[in-house]
């Protein structure tokens, strides 16, 4: 079963990290990432640029409306994701818990995938 682990955190807090704090967090996450990858359970991983770099295309009208900024104005922002290939929800939550220890604060939404095209296929 494929799950997406969607990463949410307060962008204001994350962008207030010093370079050192950022590198420390990324280093810890990288260790977890490498381990899961070695077990053959990892799909694509992405860290997104800040929501200030986002553009939104509203397609609920004709012609679609292009807006600056992210779709959702929330306290915690969607900042990145992992795709994991695991046996069940428990295993996906286990990975999420481990990633959470490496990067406390914010939230992970663990959501099963309905359709999945790996890159380049």
């Amino acid at each position: 079963m494929h799950y997406a682990i969607l990463c949410y955190h307060s962008e204001e807090v994350v962008t207030a990290w010093t370079k050192e704090q950022n590198e420390e967090v990324m280093g810890r996450l990288e260790k977890v990432r490498q381990r899961i990858a070695k077990e053959g359970k990892l799909g694509p991983v992405a860290r997104l640029l800040p929501t200030t770099a986002a553009t939104t295309l509203r397609k609920d009208r004709d012609a679609p409306l292009i807006l600056d900024g992210p779709f959702a104005e929330t306290k915690e922002q969607f900042l990145g994701f992992y795709i994991v290939d695991v046996a069940d929800l428990d295993e996906a939550l286990g990975i999420a818990r481990e990633l959470g220890e490496a990067n406390p604060g914010g939230a992970f939404e663990v959501r099963p995938l309905a359709v999945y095209y790996p890159a380049g296929v």
Binding site: V13, A16, D68, G105
Partner: protein, 420 residues
């Protein structure tokens, strides 16, 4: 990261919003700052035990407001009141404050706080000091060290700035669209000033002031979240990101300036570049070019060139021509002359800058460029005169050192030619 480091990051992130909300309640910068300070102390005491609150900013505003209210009441009654029990139950009140935070208020709150720091009555040095002190929360000591002045002198500078602001009475009503636009432009200029205090530093100062650039970027991102559709704010953020991406390569180990052509492009920060390019792309869609967007677009052309030879100088020339039109200034024209020189040769660039000499007679970079162009044309003696003028006008030891390199080369060349 230890628990306390997390709390520090949360407090830093909450600071602009919390202080500006407290400023709206109390209409006094000192009271707002002290209230926030006290709320932070309490956060450091209670958050490690109870975990961080659901909405740290709302918590800080609520606690800060209660602390300050208590103090105001105490001063009135001249008798002590119980402290902690008044803020023990935060449940309902916290969501109440959070609700109001989501309202239209807080955008103008933060803009007002930033605008206060760049009030037209304040000279540039005071604007920068005040913004770093109040919005970013740097201590007077930290700021003083970066500016190489004594701590008490810096404290005086900040106190004087605050007094001027209080006297100027910035209105607390929500500004109209025109006034909001004016405030935004003033704030953008102030943030770029803060950025440049970090970016333009060289030598030993560069390390001490690097956090200023990072802080300016953080505040520009904040401004962009508040005003997501302003192309000039996108341009400002992009400009800072693209310039800061090169920070690690701008100075050599001895702190001397390394020119763009000689910088190791492999060391440029790719994350900052990606973000900067994304923002300038977004801004361009608005088709409403302004000075920050144009400068960012020029920086973007530079970072897009994998090697210096691949730089699209025609594009840069065009962008500077547009900038000259939008914001006419001899300094802009001088910068355009570099592109003119690359496209049409040093003689063309030299005649391009000739009419600028009268207005740039006191400008280091004018004579640096003039000397360089004369040198390329083989007019060594005239180049020497221009370089001497440049050194006399240098703003820092590393600027002077950079010109001296040219002069040394000139001397060596004239020696070899006379010997040969």
């Amino acid at each position: 990261m230890a628990d306390l480091a997390w709390i520090d990051a949360a407090l830093l992130a909450a600071r602009p919003q919390a202080i500006s909300a407290l400023l709206r309640y109390f209409r006094d910068l000192d009271i707002a700052e002290e209230a926030y300070q006290e709320a932070c102390l309490r956060a450091l005491k209670t958050w490690p035990q109870n975990g961080p609150p659901r909405d740290p900013t709302a918590w800080l505003i609520f606690v800060g407001r209660n602390v300050a209210l208590d103090q105001v009441r105490r001063q009135k009654k001249q008798e002590p009141l119980p402290q902690d029990d008044r803020i023990s139950d935060l449940g309902d009140a916290e969501s109440d404050v959070a609700e109001r935070l989501d309202g239209a208020h807080y955008r103008d709150d933060i803009l007002r706080l930033l605008f206060i720091c760049c009030h037209p009555e304040l000279p540039a040095t005071q604007q920068v000091a005040l913004a770093l002190r109040i919005v970013s929360g740097l201590s007077a000591k930290q700021i003083a060290r970066a500016f190489l002045v004594g701590e008490s002198a810096m404290e005086q500078r900040i106190t004087r700035a605050k007094a001027r602001i209080a006297a100027a009475e910035v209105p607390f009503e929500a500004p109209g669209p025109v006034e909001r636009g004016e405030r935004l432009a003033a704030v953008a200029a102030m943030l770029y000033l803060v950025f440049n205090e970090g970016y333009s530093a060289s030598g030993a100062e560069a390390d001490r002031r690097r956090p200023f650039s990072e802080e300016a970027i953080r505040l520009a991102r904040l401004l962009l979240r508040l005003f997501p559709t302003e192309p000039e704010i996108m341009g400002l953020a992009a400009l800072m990101l693209l310039q800061h991406a090169r920070a690690a390569t701008r100075l050599d180990d001895s702190g001397a300036i390394v020119l763009l052509d000689d910088q190791d492009r492999a060391l440029w920060d790719r994350h900052l570049i990606a973000e900067g390019l994304a923002l300038i792309d977004k801004a361009m869609r608005h088709q409403s070019p302004g000075p920050y967007q144009l400068q960012a677009a020029i920086a973007a052309v530079h970072v897009r060139a994998v090697r210096p030879e691949e730089t699209d100088w025609a594009q840069i020339d065009l962008l500077y021509a547009t900038l000259e039109h939008v914001q006419p200034s001899p300094v802009v024209s001088l910068n355009r002359a570099v592109a003119v020189g690359k496209l049409r040769g040093p003689a063309a660039a030299l005649s391009f800058i000739e009419p600028l000499e009268a207005s740039l007679a006191g400008y280091f970079h004018f004579f640096g460029l003039k000397g360089g162009l004369l040198l390329q044309l083989g007019r060594g003696r005239e180049a020497r005169i221009a370089f001497d003028r440049a050194i006399a006008l240098a703003n820092s030891a590393s600027e002077a050192a950079h010109i001296r390199l040219h002069i040394d080369r000139l001397m060596r060349e004239s020696e070899t030619s006379s010997a040969g």
